[in-house]
Amino acid sequence: MAQNGNQKKGGSFLEKLVALTRKQFFIPIAALTILVLFNLIMDPSFFAITLGTNSNGDPVLSGYLITILNNASELVILAIGMTLVTSASGGQDISVGSAIAIAGSVMLRILVGGPVNPGKIILAFLVACVVAMIFGAFNGVLVAYFKIQPMVATLILFTAGRSIAAWINNNELPIISEPLFGYFGNFIPGVALPTPVFIAIICVIIIMLVLKFTTLGLYTQAVGINPSSSRLNGIDPAKVKLITYIILGLCVAIAGFIKVSRFSTINYSVIAKDIEMDAILAVALGGNSLGGGKFNMASSIMGAYIIQFLTTTLFKFNVVSTALPAYKAVVVIVLVVLSAPVVREKLDSFWKKLSTKKSVKEAA
């Protein structure tokens, strides 16, 4: 019966479906639906949230959903910068993981030794911001002024970054025992939600306001779509690209701050490992073109949360952390294949054939 009903509407329903798949929000929402359904079927307790107390007796919320929100924070912040960089330069920065190691290392270098007070934490954070922005500018100059492909230009820092981070602290692993420093990556006493969630939300609000009230978004997209025509319209493409890389540097510093605060220490070869892959994936999952041009920030941010959803789901089903990349790689390939223009055209013509066949059947 249901099939009959579908067939009667036939063409129009399919057409609507095809139109829906073209919407940018389609990919993230479809991915989220699949993940939620999968978890509901396998184990509904995935969605349970409980209010408990931690070892200090403070109330904390726990549950897989909270874990997702918490762990996705760095990724969300990186996705903001990565979206801008992707849009303007048509390539991705693969050095974000290494840059996080550098930013974290700089922070610990300042904090280690002597008492830790709020002023010192702010100083450490600001210095890390400046350092990360300088490294962002280094990438940006290579891309914008020397016209080197973004992913190859950032390959330099990708290789050297963790080594530089180890060098800054003389390969020692400083531990900050002051609990105040740990608040930013864990819980503030009395607040039941982890702090990174708030930091991520603040970053999202700031970037939304910036995009709404400044020309940043417009210029970035203009440069990404056509650098030479935007040049004719009075925008300096090189400058815009450089600015997006510096913004990504700032995002890296904030993400690095959360990362080192979580453990109050650093492990140069492990910190933020493979996060560049997740950040690129977030942009792609948000339905943004990896070749630059138009972007949708909200969609990217949602993409970041979905990646973490996927990671947490995989962890829950006892996938070893070292094997995670293999599963994610499959997701990436499926996504890029589905969003490739060639495949889209083929799918479109396939749908058209299907709907015409059905209408022919109806006529008969």
């Binding site: 016209k147 080197i148 080594s163 060098w167 690129i280 293999a326 490739a340 060639v342």
Partner: protein, 349 residues
């Protein structure tokens, strides 16, 4: 009179340099850099660098890297890139190691497994890049992460291979006639190379011939230089790109096996960062990222330069592991900038 005599050769030299094709100019820079570096090493760091074995050890250590870099150069000449080669090497090592020790396989079947992995990678990556028009960087990034994950799925821990047949192959040394030196005890030790070096040099020669004198080889340059023009001239662009990725993956799987023969163990951390070294070597060797320019001989010298500078860095006393990475990155950065300048020179002309 004197003025004119000194003045005439100058412009002609400058003209000759500016008339050089990009391939030749970059090749000359690379070879010059290698020789200057090696001579500096001999002069400042003592006679260690004069021993033939020092040079052959560089070859022994880097046979796999030479093969991987040649594979990388192939795709880079067509304007693509493949960063999955390093992780694929680890996957090949682990698969072969597990096959030899736990499944009781022979060296020959292990080699077949390695080639199988290469063909599978080539088919998938080549199809995605050439026929679905997906950015090669994204495709191979996914390939790299897949190989990394797959390696730990095959086996998560490092172990040494005990298979006797394999050990015999691993220990095989080929002595270089007429070369050798006296060791500290005054005993004459002939210089030797491992089998991997012979394989690497054979691949270098084959690829050099392929790129220079075969139709497909010339098509690689045409597609990398300008795909639209090449297509108008009747070159099958998609097939060429597919072939490049296919060759790259298969050759790097051979490189993976050579790496396996050199280290004799399987580990998830094997060849980590090898893709980076391969790209760096290709770039230092004068292969342009933008495609259409490159030379396999240059790539060979790129690997040699890179490993010489690594040796120099550790001989200077910067033993800490991070210095090697930083030096490689700095050298890559330098050569990228040189390329960028060369490109600008070309557009000015």
């Amino acid at each position: 009179m004197a003025k004119t005599v000194t003045a005439t050769p100058k412009p002609s030299l400058a003209k000759r340099i500016s008339n050089l094709s990009d391939t030749n100019l970059l090749l000359i820079i690379t070879i010059a850099v290698f020789f200057i570096m090696y001579i500096c090493a001999i002069v400042f760091l003592g006679s260690g660098f004069l021993k033939p074995q020092t040079f052959f050890n560089i070859l022994n250590e880097n046979a796999a890297l030479i093969i991987l870099s040649c594979a990388m150069s192939l795709v880079m000449i067509t304007g693509g890139i493949d960063i999955s080669v390093g992780a694929m090497t680890a996957l090949v090592c682990m698969s072969c190691a597990v096959h030899l020790d736990y499944k009781g396989g022979s060296v020959f079947t292990a080699l077949l497994i390695a080639l199988g992995i290469g063909v599978a990678y080539g088919l998938i990556q080549g199809y995605l890049v050439a026929y679905l028009n997906i950015q090669p960087f994204i495709v191979s990034l996914a390939g790299m992460f897949f190989a990394k994950g797959a390696t730990t799925i095959v086996n998560a821990t490092q172990f040494n291979v005990a298979n006797e047949e394999f050990q015999a192959l691993k220990a095989t040394r080929i002595y270089v006639p007429g070369m050798g030196s006296n060791n500290k005890l005054g005993v004459y030790v002939p210089a030797y190379v491992e089998i991997g070096v012979i394989v690497a040099l054979a691949i270098v020669i084959l690829l050099f011939v392929f790129l220079r004198w075969t139709k497909m080889g010339r098509n690689f340059y045409a597609v990398g230089g300008n795909a639209a023009n090449a297509s108008l001239l009747g070159v099958n662009v998609k097939l060429t790109k597919f072939t490049a990725h296919m060759m790259c993956s298969v050759i790097s799987s051979i490189g993976g096996f050579v790496y396996f023969m050199h280290v004799g163990s399987g580990s998830p951390s094997h060849a980590s960062g090898a893709e980076m070294n391969a790209i760096a070597s290709s770039i230092i060797g004068g292969t342009m990222l933008t495609g259409g320019v490159g030379n396999i001989i240059g790539t060979l010298f790129g690997v040699l330069s890179l490993s010489t500078i690594k040796n120099i860095v550790s001989a200077l006393g910067f033993d800490e592991a991070w210095w090697t990475n930083i030096t490689v990155a700095a050298m890559l950065c330098l050569f990228l900038v040189i390329q960028s300048v060369v490109l600008k020179r070309k557009s000015k002309k």
